[in-house]
């Protein structure tokens, strides 16, 4: 019995070679946050570094641009500022984990977010999306009156006053914030 099993196994291996699995290629959106001290003067090398990371895993870059340079909401790897690079690329599905790992090991890249897409959006589509989101917010505010997005709640007497240790509550906060922003200085 044992002998039979062994022979069958060996013949199978000799006759049918297992086909190499082919990974599907699909579009992705990648947001890379990179920064270091030298980036204040020039940041071209950051771009090159990210492009090298993508090239290393065999990604086909469709669009690459600097999205923004801004203060981070919190400190990441001792950096308070970051340059955001937005990349649309096509890559085999099995290299994404490798790309994330490479980005994690890199000292220049603070964060990397890779999202799978159905297709790469055009510039026109992107512009349309952001404007419609803004419009939706504006209309929402109009509908809900002065209270804005608060669902029409009016400030109650116990919600007034300075913000407590747990942060201010109620819809009055948004108004207070807007007033603060409107004030010069």
């Amino acid at each position: 019995m044992e002998e039979h099993r062994l022979t069958t196994g060996s013949t199978e291996a000799a006759t049918s070679e297992p086909a190499a699995p082919v990974a599907r290629t699909r579009p992705y959106e990648g947001m890379f946050v990179a920064f270091n001290k030298e980036a204040r003067k020039t940041h071209e090398y950051l771009e090159e570094h990210i492009q090298a990371l993508l090239a290393k895993v065999g990604a086909k870059v469709a669009r690459f641009h600097k999205w923004d340079q801004r203060q981070l909401a919190f400190e990441i790897n001792g950096q308070r500022e970051g340059i955001y690079y937005l990349v649309y690329f096509e890559a085999p599905t099995d290299v994404i984990a490798h790309l994330k790992r490479e980005a994690e090991l890199s000292e220049l890249v603070l964060r990397a977010l890779v999202l799978a897409l159905d297709r790469i959006p055009t510039e026109e589509e992107l512009r349309k999306r952001s404007s419609s989101a803004e419009e939706a917010m504006r209309e929402g505010e109009e509908l809900r009156g002065e209270g804005g997005y608060d669902g029409g709640r009016r400030p109650r007497s116990d919600r007034r006053g300075p913000p407590g240790p747990m942060g201010p509550m109620g819809p009055g906060d948004g108004e207070r914030e807007r007033e603060r922003e409107a004030e010069p200085g």
């Binding site: 947001m31 909401a73 990441i76 939706a136 917010m137 669902g151 942060g167």
Partner: protein
């Protein structure tokens, strides 16, 4: 001794209390066709978060379940890349 309210009266009082939240139109994002809630749209996300950085409830923002879910994901992605704070 004050008269105890009946169950029906209590239910009606509760209905009245929550009426202002119930009588609302569709979600602000539902009105826009083809709208995608994106983590890069920081302005929109910030306005739907409290000063502490917590996402407003559906009851408060008036969003539908689908868009609230999309917002949740967008806020989490924005937090990861340092666009929004985890704690305000």
């Amino acid at each position: 001794m004050p008269k105890k309210k009946s169950r029906i009266a209590l239910a009606r009082a509760r209905q009245r209390r929550y009426k202002k939240f119930v009588d609302r139109g569709p979600c602000r994002f539902c009105k826009k066709e083809g709208l995608v809630i994106d983590y890069k749209d920081v302005g929109t996300l910030e306005r739907l978060c409290s000063q502490q950085g917590k996402l407003f409830s559906r009851k408060r923002s008036g969003n539908c379940a689908k868009h609230q879910r999309q917002l949740k994901n967008a806020v989490k992605q924005a937090r990861y890349v340092g666009l929004l704070p985890f704690v305000g």
